[in-house]
Symmetry: C2
Subunit: 156 residues, 2 copies
Amino acid sequence: MSPNNDFLAVQDFYSDVVSWCFGCGRLNPVGHHFRTRWDGDHTLTTYTPHVEHTAIPGFVYGGLIASLIDCHSTGSAALALYRRDGHELGEPEPIPRCMTASLTVDYLKPTPLGPELTVQGTIAEVGGRKVVVKSQLFAEGIVVVSAAVVAVMARL
Amino acid sequence: MSPNNDFLAVQDFYSDVVSWCFGCGRLNPVGHHFRTRWDGDHTLTTYTPHVEHTAIPGFVYGGLIASLIDCHSTGSAALALYRRDGHELGEPEPIPRCMTASLTVDYLKPTPLGPELTVQGTIAEVGGRKVVVKSQLFAEGIVVVSAAVVAVMARL
């Protein structure tokens, strides 16, 4: 768990062996440390890109946005499977770890570099091991990116 | 131009103001410095991920792969528009700079962390300002990822 944050994120509960992800692994010393949580029936990941995460000056790099969507979505899928099985973060049952099978990102508008970005996820489908997550990325209250991810629970 | 490399890449010729991309900008001091070139009628980008670019231990982070596909595809689109207009790298005419409108990445198999990755692009469609690039990512000779990107020439 991350004692320096004021909310619980799914990534705080991944087992150590699967917590090295460059995007969201709490043990990766140089990764982005994306953190994803429930917000009612939606999922939520916020992140403020760094100055080096530039596409063209003033705008956020699309690959960083795809990375944010990727980990947000696998985290959302893990939350959805855990809730489907009757659990909420903080319970002792192990959290599933999901991998991305497919990722689609539509860049609707240029994303300004500077403000905090908010990704809101909707759990569109939950199968046995498969979850479809649809997301919108907001910058200053405006939807700038929409995305869909198919995530699958890993057999670890 | 990058005098330390033994081939010309499209990113060597982007104007300075659009060469700060975290993925492929030659002026970004901490970026990935992806470099894309023609290989016959295909385009080619190679990259060896670093140890921190982990998903789960032993495999490459999907967000890094999406980043590689992103810059490979915008670079491929710039090459395609330049050739469409009768030019090849090394000529004095300015190179167009393209942005990603949509990105789809299918992770067919886990991508091993360690070997050099090769992305081969096919120019599927060239419109006035729009290019569709389809790509396959190879690790140790095996296709592990397929992708499609719609890229659009920026008005700068």
